[in-house]
Amino acid sequence: MYQENVNLIFMINKFVICFGLIIILSGLLRLCKLSDFPVSLSMDEASVSYDAYSILKTGRDMYGNFLPLAFRSTGDYKSPVLTYLMVPAIAVFGLNEFATRITIVIISVLSVVATYYLTKELTHNRSISLLTSFFIGISPWHIQYSRATFDYVLADFFLISAVWIFIRSVKNKCKNLWLSVSLFALSAYSYHAERLMVPLFSIGLAWLWRKKLFENKRNLLFALIFGITISLPLINILLHNEGQARATSVFIGQDSLINSDIKESESEIFLEKLFGNKLILIFNFWVKRYLNYWDINYLFFDGSRLTQPNFPDVGLFNVFEIFPFFLGLWLVLKPNSSYLQSKEKTLLFIWLLLGPLAASLTNNDQHAGRAFSLIPAPHILIGIGAFLLVQKIKQLNYLCRFVASVSIFFVVFLSLIYFMDIYFVHFPIQFSEFWGYGRKQAIEYALTRKSEYKEIIIDPSYGTMGQTTIDAPYLYALYYTKFDPLSFQSEKRRFDWKDSMNFSNFTFRSIYWPKDCQLTNRLFIGSPWSLPPKDIPQNHILKTIFFKNGNVAFYILENLEAPSNCQII
């Protein structure tokens, strides 16, 4: 009896240590050089964190709305949960990159924990659960999006937790069903894709466990009323422009690849109406998009899109996971599978089928972020496959076991090194310009000399091969100058460029040097495309900022008096 207790304690400790190591590893992979990689804040990160800063300081977003449920952004409205969750971090660490990114990192590590509990609930196997959470922890897909303040991660965390609580509660007289429902609602509040995923998935879950649910009608009714009540504001948002703007702008029908076909389909010919109508065209197009999410190369070789096409890349999963993935799939599908019971198996496949659905209905092909709600379904399969491999290895003799274990460790280690090499070396070089790199340096420099100029003019477009990237520099300017939100809210709105609001002596608009050279006592920040080196006086250039690929990103140029070659246009 004593020996059994000792063994049990030893086993439990082993699991606790393994689980702890997984969490530490997950945390390290997400926290390492967090402020510096990705190399710059994205426009969305700047927008969300400045809104959080604004809420912290004034209780209102940057547009002056009091505690909104949809945050107006450039071109659409952002989901609210992330912004509110970021407030504490910004209060503690201030408005900087670390504070902006730490919230999602914490949520991401919590997702690893939630995945463990969900998998345990589904498989009743701690080893599989540990392996699954380990694969989430080292997942290139999960790490990449966790380091850059994407609300996909948050929505997925709520989804995983909601499903876990749901399964627990149906096994326990639906006692905590209201909690599951509220987590589902939070998930839908957190990201647009979940607004499609959550209702469909909930219907699937309810159908699978319908008997248990109807056995506990009181708890079910309470949960339903509770769920509907907390979802009412969201439903209200969805019925208005705030909720529809995003869905409308990214809907698959807006894709340029199908636009012309749709226009041609507006014919009065009967056959055209019958077989070439808009619905059929979109369906046919969607099927391709949906199946693309099951492209093995996308999943295991190049789905992360951290490098240019045809360059070595990383998939959404590590390459070595391909074998346990298919093994896991087979183990789950084979007759009389002991790893998952019938309902749990169905749940897993519903998750796999619905995961990429919302993403496939949008106008970008293979968008890993929008398909984030697929996590952790494939990882559970990988966990099951890996568990069988571990079992097989355990049956080997000592030497073979040692060789196999070392080999596996080596493969995993190399995979992580490879991912980090792609992420920390090649990704910045190849994509720094698409992440707004250089904005921080430019604005920080401008800030040091802000008072010397009548106006600081910043061009929103730039790029290596042309003015291919257009962002919202006003967001970076607000962020890096830590501009007082109250002043910003109360300033008179001045626009020169789309949604970019001018403030203080910052102006955001296109620079046209042949004309702008007339404007004196100005500081210009623009790319070589708007400030061509052959036209601008070299002695006016105060600073040159380079992209990570070595090309010029921005010139910072002062124009105290019009150059001699400047002519009035």
């Binding site: 077989f275 070439g276 070595p312």
Partner: protein, 511 residues
Amino acid sequence: MKLATIIVIVVGIFFRLSWLDDYPTGFNSKEAKLGLRGKLLSQTLIDETGRKLPLFFTSFDGYQFPFSSYLVAISSKILGTSEFSVRLPFAILGSLTVVIFYLIAKSIFINRDKEIFWSTVAFGLSPGSIFLARTTSEWSLLFNFVLILVYLTFFFGKIGKIRLFSSLIIVLVTLSWMFWNYFSLPGAAQKFKSDNFGIMFNTSISSTINQARGEEIQAGSSLVGKLFFNKLFYGNVLLRSIFDNLNPRLYFAAGDGNPLHGLSNFGVFPIVLLPMFLLGFLKFFQSDLGTKWKALAVLTFILLITPSILDRNSPNQEKLIFSLPLLSLVVGYGAGFISKNKLRVFLVLVAVNLSVIAHDAVASEPTRSGGVWQNGAREASLFLSEIKQDYDKVYLSDRFSPDIGSQLVFYMSNTDRLGIFGPKLWIDRVDNITIGNWSEWKVVGYEKVLFVLTEEEKKLLEQFGTKSDSEGRIINICYRDRGSILDSSGNTIFFLAENVPGKCEFNFHDK
């Protein structure tokens, strides 16, 4: 059920044989050249290079095996030279393959009518198979021969060791003889490698490795670069190519996107059959058939898609045709696990799906793929045939089609030129029509010249002889607009301009 299967076969054959000259819309230079060669062989027994009954033919794309040319020769002898007669032998063999496939399915699924019917539906009505049967694809032709051979060897009558052995010997001897002759030709080995193992000769792989290593050095360390970015990357490319060829999207939704290989908007099979295929696949591996048979099936499939895997532009739908029978059998196998009522629903869905595909193939595909199929070559040839005698010279651009001379000779009835190319592999002159060769484009004195140009070249021509009139408008004093030539979908493919004799002299080469 048997009647239904026969109806499917008849419909499949109908789709393969009907409106051959109209769909695929356009008749590209390769087909035209094949047609010319067939005509020459049928009339004179010599090919376009003047050789009598050669074993291998030469073309832009290297050497060609003899089967297609001689089949077209026979067809041309019987039916005359036309688009129909060029495509017909391929379509007939493709139709025969539907029957052969049905017989194979019948031998595999003994007395299982549902499976036989649905495999036949999958193969016989496969848009990919139908499309290739309507083209002059050499891969499709080879596939047809192979399937017939497989049937005769394994499924026809009682299989005996002697038959298997003798078939094997015949095949091996024939192939050895063919390939021995083929590889004796100058440059054939190199061409064979680049055509069939192109993925390994892709120069972008080495430049990618170099770029990756360069970025590592830029970042301060070359060690990791050497570890990850080396010749192993070829293995990575190969592996990715294998997985590219396993993508369900390729077979059921989109194909490889090349309009010469299939309908550019659809897969090889109708999408409706995907669930049936997945079910068949799953049930096959869940069955108690034994690991050996399952492994054999997987290996066979990998072997059948290998030509596509190794292609430079993998996946290549044309080369995937060998895998179609196996996939169709899996579809049929899956159907066996579906109830009759559900299958009725599936049948309706397949009919709708095929109608949508057929409608798109007729209404939209010609516009989408007209450029690749050189739609309009017929219209251009017939137009030039009518008006060429009105001019001293006609200069015709070769931008629209690299070997438009073949198409001209193919369609023109009033030319003396038979289609013998001489030492060149293409035709650069037909009567008074000069094709390509810009350096020879000259207008001297009072010559009357017609220019037949693509839009890009028209802009170049407009630069000559322009001058401002009294109101400042730019006018062209050397050339008159003579309209344009449209393809069968109404798109402009050529602009016509004729010179004003005696006004301007011009040498295209100077520009």
